[in-house]
């Protein structure tokens, strides 16, 4: 079994051509990142607004959670069958496909963004206002940087969900790595099917690692606790005892 999968994956012919692994991988990334971009455009501004103002938190957070309960596959079929013919030709399958991936990703980004902003130390927010920052300055200079770890973890989990779920769009004639799973199933070529599944998993893990690296550099060291000098704490204690003498 494993040998069969390795054989399928290592066959150079499977990697080239318009329906080869490379092409499918690029398609998969294209769907996923297009959907993720829309997710960020929707989730982050709304999340920041709710977190900053506290307005609509119950309504929006509630409906975002309700969205999580929608079965992606069912929704995709429903949209293609019900609304596909009302869309321009190019979008008959692509439109519903992107839509369901966006619906899948928005809740994680939206609720993490708003929770991140809401969890910012009230004293820091109060001080920022009290020192004369405008509402926008408080949001961009204090709330956003401090909410960043939570926002990024929301983006990260949305990305993983989208990458994994983008396989379903192959069912409605589109490409992507899901193609190998669907085709493998119908051709009873289980090596191809398992190979496709492994490729999705590897892609997800690789992107997650890349994201972790980005997160390290974007989030302030003051928040992550990774301070410059490893002996920093010892220094503080030493300096403190000096100061108190």
């Amino acid at each position: 079994m494993i040998n069969g999968i390795i054989e399928w994956l290592s066959d150079g012919e499977h990697w080239s051509g318009p329906d080869g692994i490379t092409a499918r991988l690029l398609e998969h990334l294209q769907y996923s990142f297009s959907a993720l971009a829309v997710v960020l455009l929707i989730g982050i501004p709304i999340g920041l607004y709710i977190g900053h103002t506290g307005k609509g938190s119950v309504a929006i957070a509630g409906s975002a959670n309700a969205l999580r309960a929608l079965p992606t596959f069912g929704l995709l079929l429903y949209l293609v069958i019900g609304y596909g013919d009302k869309l321009p030709t190019d979008w008959i399958y692509l439109g519903p496909s992107l839509f369901v991936l966006v619906v899948l990703g928005v809740p994680a980004v939206l609720s993490n963004t708003y929770a991140g902003v809401q969890n910012v130390d009230p004293a820091a927010r109060d001080a920022a206002k009290g020192m004369g920052m405008t509402g926008m300055q408080v949001l961009l200079r204090v709330e956003l940087p401090n909410a960043l770890p939570l926002i990024l973890s929301g983006v990260r989990s949305a990305m993983l969900q989208i990458i994994a779920t983008a396989t379903v769009v192959a069912y409605v004639t589109l490409g992507g790595l899901g193609r190998f799973i669907i085709d493998g199933l119908s051709q009873q070529d289980y090596f191809q099917m398992a190979g496709g599944a492994i490729l999705v998993a590897v892609l997800a893990v690789a992107l997650d690692l890349a994201f972790a690296v980005i997160q390290r550099y974007v989030v302030s060291r003051g928040i992550t606790g990774r301070y410059a000098a490893p002996a920093a704490n010892a220094d503080v204690v030493a300096a403190e005892s000096k100061a108190s003498v």
Partner: protein, 377 residues
């Protein structure tokens, strides 16, 4: 100068937080708002920089109606220090302190230089500049909070229970340093606390507020302790206020000279120097070390640290009568040790002598009262 003119804060649910407050906080002085929770002291403070909008009434900053300036302009001109410091966790200490200068459009270099200068001012090691708030202790964070409020050199500072979240020893240090800083800077300060001892220690004048947001008494700390205006204030300033008021009475005491001994002196010297069985040991700079019981030095032996009784407190010769009395009461010999500003021995004084001085002070004050009554009537 900050002036409250019939200021009222009423919430939509009908709660009245501040009820017709009239008060003047003079320039260059510390005015403390003190009172139990729910007395509107924090609300009153936060109305000055319009973190809370008054329902009615006017707050003046010198001749500027605070309601008529934009909120951010007003706030950038007022230093603001809060209970948990409220430092920005994602910024280094130097950047935290530079916040207001940068908001005001200073160039980065100048703002940084100013930050470093202020770190020194508030007693922070310059090595902390590149550190983050989470790397500092609570007391150090609060120093950063004060430095940050001072960064753009505002004439007015609002301080909302700034020292209440640190332990008592650090609080005492911060208070002393705050007073030293204020003696250099002479800011107009409103300071909120629920701790009457802190109010009395720091305030040039103290405003005692009552639940419901009314002013019970506005007075100097000494007056508050000696002449509370009603039962509420009397209850709030608490027990021992007669004794605590002595903290504001000072007078040069006639110190009796004291024969001293040094480490290494033998028992015969101690017996000769001692009075009533006790001798005071001092070091080379005549700084008091402790008392030695003459009879406790075995003949032929010498005075050493193990024979010292260290119970007595020291009082500055030009300090308060409270400290002098405490020195006398706590001294094993019954003689309170007075020192000069270098910590060197001046002489000793007994409790009876201090009390005599206190009585003559009180006597003088009663005479003044009587005269006042006569000329007033």
């Amino acid at each position: 100068m900050i002036k409250f003119e019939s200021v009222v804060k009423k919430y939509p649910d009908g709660t009245v937080a501040v009820n017709g407050l009239d008060l003047v906080a003079p320039s260059g002085k510390i005015t403390v708002f003190v009172g139990p929770s729910g007395c509107g002291k924090t609300t009153s403070l936060r109305m000055i920089n319009r973190m809370i909008e008054p329902t009615s009434g006017t707050i003046w900053l010198d001749d500027q109606d605070t309601g008529k300036v934009s909120e951010s302009t007003l706030r950038r001109g007022i230093g603001y220090v809060i209970q948990h410091a409220g430092l920005f966790p994602h910024r280094t200490i130097v950047d935290n302190i530079a916040t207001v200068p940068l908001l005001l459009g200073w160039d980065k270099k100048k703002a940084r230089a100013r930050s470093l200068e202020l770190m020194e001012r508030v007693g922070l090691d310059p090595n902390f500049a590149r550190r983050y708030p989470a790397q500092l202790s609570g007391g150090q964070q609060q120093r950063v909070g004060v430095a940050r409020a001072l960064a753009a050199d505002p004439p007015v500072m609002l301080m909302d229970e700034p020292f209440s979240a640190v332990d008592p020893v650090v609080r005492g240090e911060l208070q002393d340093e705050f007073l030293r800083l204020q003696s250099e800077l002479g800011k107009t300060i409103i300071f909120v606390t629920h701790d009457i001892d802190e109010a009395v220690k720091l305030g040039d004048q103290v405003a005692v507020l009552k639940v419901g947001g009314t002013l019970a008494q506005l007075a100097s700390p000494a007056e508050l302790l000696t002449d509370p205006v009603d039962d509420f204030v009397a209850g709030f300033v608490g027990r021992d206020r007669g004794y605590r008021a002595l903290g504001f009475e000072s007078g040069t005491l006639d110190a009796a000279s004291e024969q001293t001994v040094k480490f290494g002196d033998d028992s015969a010297t101690v017996l000769r120097a001692g009075r009533d069985g006790w001798a005071l040991a001092v070091d080379e700079a005549r700084r008091p070390l402790g008392w030695v019981r003459s009879a406790a030095v075995p003949s032929g032996k010498q005075v050493g640290p193990e024979l010292l009784h260290r119970g007595g407190t020291l009082a500055s010769v030009s300090g308060s009568l409270r400290a002098a009395l405490d020195a006398a009461l706590s001294s094993p010999s019954g003689r309170g040790v007075l020192i000069d500003e270098n910590g060197a021995l001046v002489g000793t004084v007994t409790a009876a002598e201090v009390v005599q001085r206190i009585e003559s002070h009180l006597h003088a004050r009663r005479d003044q009262h009587d005269e006042g009554a006569v000329s007033g009537g």
